[in-house]
Amino acid sequence: MTGLLFLIPAALFLGLLGLAAFLWALKSDQFEDLDGAANRILFDDDEPAASHIRSSTKPR
């Protein structure tokens, strides 16, 4: 039973980590363009043509 004392906090911590990751992804516009994201993995530029392009200007 003492196992519970660290297993439960460990499970909760991992769960919270996942939640935080999702909320961060949501906040940084990663769910704004699901079709585009699916296609972008196929771009094979040697050096990303516009690595400085971030979400500084985001389509509304």
Binding site: D33, A50, K58
Partner: protein
């Protein structure tokens, strides 16, 4: 996604020219010398398009950043102002094959879907549900084994620590909407949901303090999770439709060219036009405000406003209306009404008046909630009275049983019954190029008994074709077509289409609003109106002529007449037949002349028709039908149909329709086939049947589960299994629509 050129939302305006819009008025400037702009690029179909646009722009000097959102087809771009300007960027895009227009929907007009808040609530609820389930499984299995009450209580308290804050956060969408409903004096579906969650939490806390077994924290969390999944799906489908609708809104001519007092041309936004300004409207441009022509001659295409297919010739002094299309020559127009004062806004007012009556309709889910909520709350209350007053149980125990009645009646399945079907159905329609705009459009579409069509642009394509080609000699046609090549007039273009591969006659001059002339060995050749070809001017085109005409005059020969008719949609007759075969009444209401309307009605097999209807006549007829108890589907496209579209029980318009008509229609379909209307109707009927099945299942489930709950036999495990199963059954039933089961082919 594969590069699918057939994506239904890729070309909202398949057969309409894009207006020339100057981007400069829409540029936003930042303090650091950069400027930014959001462009709508409708040609984006696949990842390749995205890559080409982004790479090209990234290599353009002066461009700081460019990023495409493929879902909404919008491009956000930022550049150094001293290095490059907006016009250069837009023309570079056009050269690449991607014409772009500034995305300028006012923030007030934009629809905030609140999708993110729902997603956050969903994430929190999901986290809580998953983690608490871990603990609950332990408690359930411990109940059969050797778990001591102390351990069980510890696990319950940990569950409480997780669920209470999470539920307080995730229940807000439901609680807010339930409270808003109560303020209006209505019982919405959210009320039983909120009550069930709050009572579950309250009772579980009470039991945890008491150390009792009836702790349902897991049930509360998974109830919220399931319901939020339904909400998010529903909202996503709607925000996709909203984005498409916004894109349509942007495509209307959003800039105008003003001629200043000193003769300078200056592009301005349409919203900032004022009475008294003089504007230049190029050939092919849309007229942005009501006005009087001061210079120039042209032909005005009023088909979107009046439903009339034949262009109207205008000369200085003629009145022109906002929304009409200038076809052949440049015009200078003095504005006499802009914004609020235009014909357009009058139509909008008529529409708003019509739309108000519709707001009183009650949605299916809310109708179910009105029956469900009182029954369930009454059942729970009588359970409490039964146990406490009649059977003499302690009040805590009685309350517990009463609350378990509330929980097990499962507002979850009921809350999912409609949204899940809705999402699946709108996905299915979207793949067929039909956009569901109103969220309750399907429910209304399913129970129509009358269909009213508009003529121009709805039954017909609004495109003219040569009607009397056998009567006209081939040589005459070839000669006429070789002159017509020089003109943008729609009749001339149809003439050319009737004679493909024609040669071009040299030195053809166009006199906008009158006709064409060309020199030849025999003398002057003329192509144009009766009057232009020197025919008797007193005998104007009589009212019983079946359609527009054009004449060819040659010296020393009899003039030749070319007659035109409006081309019907390829499956117009099949569509009407399909409705009639299923017992629906079909009517035709048109603003066009009687002779034309009756010919069209005969051709497609409609018995009841009315001609020369003004917008108010159309709404009046719909009002008559509604007063007789008919549920009317209106199919129309013109500005003159917009009030009727808003007044009808449910409405559909083609994607080639006027913006305002699309805005007031519940559904919008793409492409030339009118069969989409029948398709939408069939999907709606199936969707409604599935919704009804879901309600029936929920009722059956309740009939079985409630007696157990009233008898006090519900254990936490039983509650969890029963509730999840009922939700899954409802979702599974809705999915049948996606896979096409229960679907009768035409």
């Amino acid at each position: 996604m594969m590069p699918d050129a057939a994506h239904p939302l890729s070309t909202p305006y398949p057969d309409r020219e894009q207006p020339a819009v100057y981007p400069t008025p829409f540029v936003a400037r930042a303090a650091d010398g950069t400027a930014s702009l959001i462009l709508l690029v409708n040609g984006i179909h696949c990842g390749g398009c995205v890559q080409r646009i982004e790479r090209t722009l990234a290599q353009t000097p002066g461009v700081v950043s460019a990023r495409v959102n493929m879902t909404t087809k919008r491009l956000a771009i930022r550049w150094q102002e001293q290095a490059i300007d907006a016009d250069t960027i837009v023309s570079a895009l056009a050269k690449l094959g991607y014409p772009a227009v500034p995305f300028n929907v006012e923030p007030a007009l934009r629809i905030d879907s609140g999708e993110r808040a729902l997603m956050r609530a969903l994430a929190v609820a999901g986290f809580a549900a998953a983690n608490v389930m871990l603990l609950s499984v332990a408690v359930w299995s411990g109940a059969f084994g050797n778990m001591g009450p102390a351990t069980r209580n510890l696990l319950q308290w940990i569950s409480a620590l997780i669920v209470l804050p999470a539920a307080a956060y995730a229940v807000r969408p439901f609680l807010n909407s339930a409270l808003a409903g109560l303020k209006r004096g209505e019982m919405s579906m959210d009320l039983p949901i909120s009550l069930a969650v709050l009572l579950t939490l309250g009772m579980s806390l009470f039991e945890a303090i008491r150390g009792g077994p009836h702790v349902y924290f897991d049930a509360a969390a998974s109830l919220l999770f399931f319901l939020l999944v339904g909400r998010v799906l529903d909202r996503q489908a709607r925000s996709r439709a909203a984005a498409a609708a916004e894109n349509l809104l942007v495509l209307r001519g959003s800039t105008a060219t003003v001629i200043d007092a000193d003769g300078q041309l200056r592009p301005v936004r349409v919203e900032s036009l004022e009475t008294g300004m003089t504007i230049l409207v190029t050939a092919g441009g849309r007229i942005p405000a009501d006005g009087i022509v001061t210079m120039g001659q042209s032909d005005i295409d009023t088909s979107l406003v009046t439903g009339e297919t034949v262009p109207q010739a205008v000369r200085p002094g003629a009145k022109v209306f906002a929304g009409t299309l200038n076809r052949t020559g440049p015009l200078t127009v003095r504005i006499i009404a802009a914004g609020e004062g235009t014909l357009l806004s009058e139509i909008v007012r008529l529409m708003e008046a019509a739309g108000q009556s519709r707001a009183r309709m009650v949605r299916l889910a809310d109708r179910a909630a009105r029956i469900y909520a009182p029954v369930v709350h009454l059942a729970a209350f009588s359970t409490f009275i039964l146990w406490w007053a009649v059977l003499g149980t302690a009040w805590q125990q009685s309350l517990l049983i009463a609350v378990s009645v509330l929980i097990i009646t499962c507002p979850c399945a009921l809350g999912l019954a409609v949204p899940v079907v809705q999402v699946v159905a709108s996905g299915r329609l979207m793949r067929r190029g039909i956009l569901l705009k109103a969220s309750d459009g399907l429910e209304r579409l399913a129970i129509i008994d009358t269909v009213v069509f508009d003529k121009t642009g709805t039954l017909s394509l609004g495109r003219l074709q040569l009607a009397n080609s056998p009567a006209v000699g081939r040589g005459d046609l070839a000669l006429a077509a070789s002159m017509a090549v020089a003109s943008r007039h729609p009749l001339c273009q149809s003439l050319v289409a009737a004679m493909p591969g024609t040669f071009t006659l040299p030195d053809v001059r166009e006199y906008p609003g009158e006709g064409l002339s060309a020199p030849s060995a025999e003398g002057e050749l003329r192509l144009g109106s009766r009057a232009w070809c020197g025919l008797d001017d007193g005998e104007r085109q009589s009212d019983d002529a079946a359609g527009p005409e054009i004449w060819l005059a040659r010296p020393g020969r009899a003039p030749v007449q070319f007659l035109f008719s409006d081309e019907l949609r390829p499956d117009a007759k099949e569509t009407i037949d399909a409705f009639k075969k299923r017992g629906l009444a079909v009517e035709l209401l048109s603003g066009d002349r009687a002779a034309v309307v009756s010919a069209t009605a005969r051709a497609v097999g409609i018995d009841i028709w009315r001609s020369t209807c003004r917008p108010a006549d159309k709404t009046a007829r719909l009002g008559e039908l509604a007063a007789q108890g008919h549920k009317v589907l209106m199919v129309g496209d013109g500005l003159n149909d917009a009030p009727a579209l808003a007044a009808a029980y449910v409405s559909i318009s083609p994607a080639s329709a006027a913006d305002i008509s699309q805005a007031s229609a519940d559904l919008v379909f793409q492409g030339e086939r009118l069969g989409a209307v029948v398709e939408a109707w069939r999907v709606a009927k199936t969707a409604r049947a599935l919704m009804m099945q879901n309600f029936a299942f929920t009722a059956l489930y309740n009939a079985l589960a409630v007696p157990f709950a009233v008898a006090g036999l519900v254990t936490p495990l039983l509650a969890a299994i029963a509730m999840s199963t009922s939700s899954l059954v409802v979702i599974g039933n809705a999915m049948r629509l996606a896979r096409g089961i229960g679907w009768r082919s035409p």
